[in-house]
């Protein structure tokens, strides 16, 4: 499978501040790739470099087989972008902005446009000045999603959307994936990334800390096990990979690394399980572990 985005050693300074520090990122064609990081970690800066809006100080930035800076205009015919902070021309109507951005990109699909207006419940006749934040976001989303392009760069696209619209957005992204399009989805909303993305890159302080499928990152996380047994076996707290053991009577709660699961479950099984709940690891925990355990 070919590479839609390939960034190697990208560095960008703003004066004395180093915004991106030798960042590597690879997005395969046809995948929905999550780009996770807290505020100010460099997500938007990376996207701006990808779009040729700002220039890399060092590193190689390729997308769709071209150079992000020198081939910017030609590449932009093949991609659509939703900025993180959507500002629209206050005197133009929403419909005018959607059509303008679509035409400048090389045309948009009118059927898809009206279908998206319907699905996102946007009134296109209002002046942009009067739109709420969520409605401005919808304008940018519709302008992007109605274009027939290969790559979608979405910077925190659901900020300001209500839960219903968020669900609509997720449906749209799934349709894009089914249609073989590539999506780079920057976000700090972990459930969104978890629900949509094939692979995830975690960025922190301008560098990608970890890239992989969500499944492959589970090793960083712990499953929370709650169980009731007939007779509590001794020494569970000393088992490798088993942490935070709390025993009250014949109830036990513990958080368990993947490597500790077989041992613990065997021991509990031998003790006669009467009830068992296991909570799967979430990306929140994965995130926390990155930021708490590896101070930089």
């Amino acid at each position: 499978m070919s590479e839609a985005i390939g960034i190697l050693g990208l560095t960008k300074n703003f004066g004395k501040v180093r915004a991106l520090d030798s960042l590597d990122l690879s997005v395969e064609a046809g995948e929905v790739h999550g780009f996770l990081g807290p505020n100010g970690s460099g997500k938007t800066t990376t996207l701006r470099v990808l779009l040729g809006l700002i220039r890399a100080d060092a590193g190689r930035v390729r997308l769709l087989g071209g150079d992000a800076w020198t081939d910017a205009v030609e590449l932009h015919r093949r991609l659509a972008y939703v900025p993180g902070d959507v500002t629209l021309w206050p005197t133009l109507s929403g419909g005018e902005v959607i059509d303008l951005l679509g035409r400048l990109r090389g045309g948009l699909n009118p059927q898809r446009r009206s279908e998206l207006l319907e699905r996102f419940q946007l009134d296109p006749t209002k002046k942009c000045r009067t739109y709420s934040k969520g409605n401005r976001q919808k304008v940018a989303l519709i302008a992007a999603l109605a274009s027939d392009v290969e790559l979608f760069l979405l910077d925190e696209p659901t900020s300001g959307l209500d839960p219903l619209m968020e669900a609509t957005f997720r449906d749209c992204v799934r349709e894009l994936r089914d249609g073989g399009r590539t999506v780079l989805l920057s976000s700090h909303i972990l459930s969104e990334v978890e629900a949509l993305c094939d692979r995830v890159s975690i960025i922190r302080s301008g560098a990608v800390m970890e890239t992989g499928s969500i499944a492959s990152m589970r090793h960083l996380t712990r499953t929370v096990i709650q169980a009731e047994v007939r007779a509590m076996p001794a020494g569970l707290g000393e088992m490798p990979g088993v942490h935070e053991v709390v025993v009250t009577g014949n109830r036990i709660t513990a958080s368990v690394e993947p490597l500790g699961l077989p041992g613990l479950l065997a021991a509990l099984g031998a003790a006669g399980i009467t009830s068992l709940t296991s909570s799967p690891p979430t990306l929140e925990e994965l995130f926390l572990r990155h930021y708490e355990s590896t101070p930089r």
Binding site: L53, R55, H76, T91, L92, G94, D99, T125, R129
Partner: protein, 530 residues
């Protein structure tokens, strides 16, 4: 204190913090210009005889009277020294006050910042009150500093005080006007445009009124800028006239507070209409035209009117010369046609300067599009930086050419009808067109500065003001000719008239081209800078 005004003090502090360079710089600038003019004039005209001759020449020249007004006491050193700074400063102060008031009221609303502020324990009218307090205080300080500067340069105390007070109340008066337009218009650009048209109207009314002493001299009395001159500092000090701008300011400010209470945050008195559900815009140029067209239309009306009015009165300048000796001299200098031509050429220079300001405003749209994030949306589509630049640049360059053409045709038509010579339309229009390249240089300079230092747009306005000051006061202050030659305005041919040297046009166009090209190259290499 009423609840409506709660937290005004905090907002005043916020405004002063934001204007911490603009306001002190303005105080120094106004005081320094006034004081240096006074000192320089005292050196040039040490005795009453020389002053009477100079004042006589000023009052005899219609072009000068239209531009700056009359000298009401030919023996007075102060009146001679300050007749130019008086009107120049009044207009500049009026513009400054419009900027200050709109910046802290309507522009804050539009940006959404006032929503954040208004959610605090802040009275509904507090932002307006704070903006007016800042504007009125700034006017007062500028007036006081100016009076002190004039006093220090040796002018009489009463006149110095009257002059400073005249400027101060003019500033206050236009702050009141801006407070009203901030409530009426639907956005900050429209509010500034409306208020600045008021400044322009006040200037033109005064120009026409001052010219026609026998005719509608009362027109000057409709204009706050005319009031400033009728204070007649150093020429009788008519203190009573100060009451007129103060009364006007009180009325407009009261009206602004009433209007503010009647409207919602973010809306004007006119409600927002819906737009089309689908758009026809499909190119960067169409977008630039859509964004800039209304501004250009407003400028077209203003310059068309201004041109027509000044063109219509141009031929009357000869009648102003009642002394037969003077007439004889004028005849030798090229006859009454020469005098009329000199007047028209001076007006074309004025148009060129005004239209250059439009050009800078039009280019500044590039910067506001960039800082608002609109450029990001545009450039993430298949639009190159060159196309985006070319679109707004094209509007600015074509707009400048169009406005000077309109002003020239207006003036030519007015003059041609008045003297019954249709040929004048072409002559005067060509004279206006000859001013285009100088204004283009300012447009190109603005593009260059934006391309290289995107955050330094204010520098272009400083250069613009410096060029005007060099033209108006350069020789008075003894500025070396080499430095005055930096101003593009001095290189335009003085048409209509015998000046047939068109080299300046070629040079100006070449300089503009060089600035444009290097600005475009710089923009294509730099980061987009919010």
């Amino acid at each position: 204190m009423s609840n409506d005004l709660r937290s005004t003090g905090n907002l005043v502090r916020l405004a002063l913090r934001r204007d911490r360079f603009l306001l002190p710089g303005s105080v120094l600038g106004f005081a320094a210009i006034a004081a240096s003019s006074a000192t320089a004039t005292a050196g040039l005209y040490p005795d009453p005889t020389s002053r009477i001759a100079a004042a006589g020449a000023v009052n005899a020249s219609a072009a000068i009277v239209a531009m700056y007004g009359r000298i009401y006491d030919p023996t007075s050193l102060g009146a001679l020294a300050m007749f130019k700074p008086a009107v120049f400063g009044a207009v500049a102060l009026a513009i400054l006050m419009v900027i200050v008031v709109i910046r802290h009221t309507r522009a804050e609303e539009e940006s959404g910042r006032l929503e954040l502020v208004g959610a605090g324990v802040v009275g509904r009218a507090a932002p307006l009150a704070a903006a007016l307090i800042v504007a009125v205080s700034a006017s007062a300080v500028i007036g006081a500093a100016t009076a002190a500067g004039l006093l220090a340069s040796g002018l009489p105390p009463a006149g110095s005080l009257a002059f400073g007070a005249g400027w101060a109340v003019t500033g206050v008066c236009f702050a009141g006007l801006a407070a009203v337009t901030a409530q009426v218009a639907t956005g900050s650009r429209a509010a500034s445009g409306l208020a600045l048209s008021g400044v322009g109207l006040a200037y033109v009314l005064r120009a026409v009124g001052d010219l026609s002493e026998a005719g509608p001299g009362w027109l000057s009395w409709l204009s706050p800028i005319g009031w400033n001159q009728q204070v007649r500092a150093f020429a009788g000090d008519h203190w009573v006239v100060l009451a007129l701008p103060l009364a006007a300011a009180t009325a407009t400010m009261a009206a602004a507070f009433v209007l503010r209470r009647r409207r919602d945050l973010g809306s004007g008195l006119l409600s927002e209409r819906s737009g089309p559900a689908t758009g026809r815009l499909g190119t960067p140029l169409a977008l630039a035209w859509r964004l800039q067209g209304p501004t250009l239309a407003a400028w077209t009306i203003v310059l068309g009117l201004l041109g027509t009015v000044l063109g219509t009165i141009a031929h009357t300048v000869v009648d102003l010369l009642d002394s037969p000796g003077m007439k004889a001299i004028i005849q030798q200098l090229g006859g009454s046609q020469g005098l009329t031509d000199a007047f028209l050429a001076a007006e074309m220079g004025l148009f060129g300067t005004i239209v250059a300001a439009y050009g800078i405003v039009a280019v500044s749209r590039l910067r506001s599009e960039e800082s608002a994030g609109h450029a990001e949306a545009l450039l993430s589509t298949a639009v190159s930086r060159g196309r985006m630049l070319a679109a707004h640049c094209g509007v600015a360059l074509a707009g400048v050419a169009w406005l000077l053409f309109v002003a020239g045709v207006g003036a030519g038509t007015g003059h041609g009808l008045a003297v019954g010579d249709p040929g004048q339309i072409a002559t005067v229009a060509i004279a206006a067109i000859a001013r285009i390249p100088a204004a283009w240089v300012l447009v190109a300079l603005a593009v260059f500065v934006w391309g290289v230092w995107p955050r330094a747009g204010a520098g272009v306005w400083l250069a613009y003001i410096a060029f005007i000051l060099a033209g108006e006061f350069g020789s008075l202050w003894g500025v070396p000719q080499a430095i005055m030659n930096l101003s593009p305005f001095v290189h335009s041919p003085l048409l209509p008239g015998p000046d047939q040297n068109l080299d300046g046009i070629l040079w100006l166009t070449a300089v503009a081209g060089a600035f444009l090209a290097s600005g475009a190259v710089a923009f294509r290499r730099r980061d987009l800078t919010p």
